[in-house]
């Protein structure tokens, strides 16, 4: 089975991580709080090693509780990085504390002050060798490492700056391992005034160094959560919201996406999708690596068994983790991953629906990748994930550019960045240009005509 290492950076990254691990365990029938129904556990123990390592070669089936994991010295394949230690400290106290290996934690005080330059350059150069060393420790525990799953926000300083510095390091030191980045974009209502700078500077690095980017924005996540809370079946989750950190539900939406995203690599299926296939299918040209992710059903993991909704359309606008309507643009490629109780016919049906709805690029009218995984997510009979590379992503980039321009026109707050020694003011300009170029590339593709050179004439 494929193995993955999560790399969680900054407050947001680590909070997504804290939602990730309980749900990952739940897929294997292990719960931190209450016992999980026996249902489909134990058949796919091999998959346990995708996210967890243990010193003994024990299959996942023998673990039922957290204390089983503790006594077998099972560890999460997770690297935790933060430049302040409050979130990671919570891990150190939480019910899953033994799951995290102390040697894979990297913290410092007092953060990056919402300053990309501080995170990327100051901390980036100071911590580079320790980051590589820590990641290498995790890599050495893997036999079949197939991807890094990076999680961070791009609005603050640490995730945005150091997170993207980490992406670069992984690119240089582990070039054969794919880098999948889930990054959270700010909703625009937060109080981080420098967020537009951080967002743009980080986005530029991701275009260049990430294999694929699966972005989410807090506005979409909030809307999804509000929608779910209005529905009866999520009363249970609504209670959770009241009781805990406001991001928890938003983060579990992201986590569901990640678990579905990796399911084909972890579990068997009649049409398997390995992670290495993703960039081949979804990135037709370098730097067009931002994918719009849509989920159906949207729900959090819950013990409710929802009926198999045949009509689900993961590509619908309000099912996206980003405020982007993928079908409004020209589609360069789409991946449909279904898990659980879904037949080939259901999948073909979804393909033809998507083909009727979407406008595909003239040079590939069938740019669709499909996958079927046998194992349903915990709590649902089936789930569908769509990943779409659409030219409507240019709107998202325009927004990023526009927000940046509003501040940069006045040179507001730039002194914070210029204070950082190795930061060059040029970076503002080149990063802005790179965003322009990407928008231009999308627009050019959106206008592609169906003019084709004549086929070769053979005698």
């Amino acid at each position: 089975m494929s193995e993955f290492i999560t790399v969680q950076v900054g407050q947001c990254g680590n909070q997504i991580g804290s939602a990730f691990w309980p749900l990952a365990l739940q897929e294997h029938g292990i719960s931190a709080s209450k016992p999980v129904a026996q249902q489909q556990r134990s058949r796919y123990n091999d998959a346990f090693h995708s996210f967890f390592s243990s010193p003994h070669d024990v299959s996942g089936a023998s673990y039922k509780t957290i204390s089983d994991l503790e006594s077998a010295k099972v560890k999460a394949r997770a690297v935790l990085i933060d430049m302040e230690d409050s979130v990671v400290a919570r891990f150190r106290k939480g019910p899953l504390r033994k799951l995290f290996d102390e040697t894979l934690l990297l913290t410092n005080y007092p953060g990056s002050g919402n300053n990309w330059a501080e995170g990327h350059h100051a901390h980036g150069s100071e911590y580079a060798s320790r980051i590589v060393e820590t990641v290498r420790r995790a890599v050495e525990r893997c036999d079949h490492l197939h991807g890094f799953l990076l999680m961070f926000s791009v609005g603050g300083g640490t995730g945005s700056g150091l997170g993207t510095a980490t992406v670069k390091l992984l690119h240089d030191y582990f070039p054969d391992v794919d880098r999948f980045v889930t990054c959270v974009y700010p909703s625009g209502h937060e109080d981080v005034v420098t967020a537009p700078y951080n967002v743009l500077l980080a986005t530029n690095i991701l275009l260049e160094y990430a294999t694929c980017v699966l972005p989410a924005d807090n506005k979409s996540l909030l809307d999804i959560c509000a929608y779910l809370q209005n529905r009866k079946e999520s009363i249970e989750s609504a209670k959770v919201v009241a009781a805990s950190n406001p991001y928890e539900d938003m983060n579990s939406v992201v986590v569901n996406m990640l678990l579905n995203f990796t399911s084909g690599s972890r579990f068997p299926g009649s049409l398997n999708v390995d992670m290495s296939e993703l960039s081949t299918n979804m990135v037709p040209f370098p730097k067009l690596n931002f994918l719009s992710c849509g989920l159906a059903p949207l729900g959090f993991s819950s013990t409710h068994i929802l009926p198999v909704a045949k009509q689900v359309e993961p590509w619908a606008r309000d099912h996206q983790l980003l405020k982007v309507d993928p079908l409004a643009g020209t589609l360069l490629g789409a991946t449909l991953l279904s898990r659980g109780n879904v037949t080939l016919s259901d999948l073909r049906y979804n393909v033809s629906r998507l083909q009727n709805r979407g406008k595909f690029i003239p040079w590939n009218q069938d740019a669709i990748k499909v996958g079927l995984c046998n194992v349903a997510p915990a709590g649902h009979p089936a789930a569908h994930l769509s990943l779409i590379n659409s030219t409507s992503m240019s709107g998202f980039f325009s927004h990023i550019g526009g927000q940046f321009d509003r501040l940069y026109r006045r040179k507001a707050h730039i002194h914070h960045y210029l204070q950082v020694e190795s930061f060059s003011p040029e970076e503002f300009i080149t990063s802005r240009q790179s965003i322009y170029d990407t928008i231009g590339h999308y627009q050019q593709l959106g206008e592609t005509q169906n003019a084709v050179l004549d086929r070769l004439n053979v005698v």
């Binding site: 494929s2 398997n272 299918n281 590939n364 053979v458």
Partner: protein, 460 residues
Amino acid sequence: MALTTLQFGQCGNQVGHELFSTLAKDIHSPKPGVSARDNELYIQNSVNQWFEEDVDSKKLFARAVLVDTENKVVQESFKKQSSNRQWAYNERTCAVRSGGAGNNWALGYQRKGPELLESVSEALRFQNEKVDRLSGIFSIMSSAGGTGSGVGSYIMENIRDEYSKKAFFNAVVLPFEAGEVVTQSYNTLLSLAKILSVSDATLLLQNDHLHSMLSSLLNFKTVGIGDLNSLIALKMAGSFQPLQETPFSMKLNMSDIIARIAPHPAFKYFCIKSSPHVPKESRRFDGGCQWSVLAKHMRQMLRTNILSSDSVSLDWELKQPSSVPPSVHSTTQFSCSVANHLVTRGLAFSNNQYRPEEDFVGRGMHPRWAPENAAFTHSHQTRRFNDQDKFAFLVSNNSQLHVPLNTVVDKAWKMFTHKAYMYQYLRFGLMEEDFVDAFVKLESVVKAYKELGKNQMSYI
């Protein structure tokens, strides 16, 4: 007559598994409909062709080598068979890595293929040492992914010399045209072009067509991958299980069939048409159809529309045979065939009543250069197949085959002219010229098939 099967990638391994299950089921058929002696002979021939038999347990071991760049599928196969008492794979004959070939022919061909070559060759030798006379090597793969297409074509190319005296042929599963892998047309183009130079003959299987057969002939409401594979396995077993020597039928084994079906280096593709496929619930009403009706029905499957030769609207394989003579349209003609091989399986075939060559020979059905007695052959086997009294298969190398190939070239060319996805392939050391070479090769094939029998049309 021993054959070793090479299963490549997810598709090759899943189809291969189903093939051996179908063969084992056929071998153990409770109602063979022939004498005990004939049945014994058939079983012996079939076992020799596909399996090793364990002397003590009588358990059959597939003479196969399992190759994949990702271990999940092969592991599932082993898991499935632990409960199977009829047959199994030998665990020593796997060559497996992990991580997959990323749906990228170049990654499969340039990197994973060379990594796997040694262990595949070893596993092959291990299998082949045990047989007295190896007659051929049969590879199974899909063309859309990276492993079957890339690793498969690399390995075929590199073991060809070691088995230069053997029949060397393969089956390729073509993807659903409406998209399954975004780069499927590139991968298909590149693998078909490589395989073309090393394989004696390539069986083309189209997922779209199989899916249509299941839904329109067999009334499946939902189709699973396993259903496609059962149909593929049925077609393969039906064509290649042992045949009989009778006054009217030739006793051909698999390598004979391959040699006959692809006698010309420019025409190496074939398909297998089959009938009747009857839904389980209406099985008991069947049996009424006469051999002549069935054979004429098989012939209808060679019809194409002359107005648009690319049209698939007229597919007789999606119909049940009928004793009412088909209405003949002046707009249809028989597709010109390099060779056709008819296999009939089941009860009471007698050439006093019906001689199939009358229907399959002459009148523009073959190109002028093909000698008539070689361009059509018929073989029979009285033993019942698939628990049906009558079953017919037409192994056919005909002009219609240009249609799926043309689609692949067309789609790949569109992407290529926009340079889409090229950097993914160049990254693994492929060059633009390699694409151009592949285009040239396949364009020639498409042209040759399209023009097969041109200027000698005869309208029926």
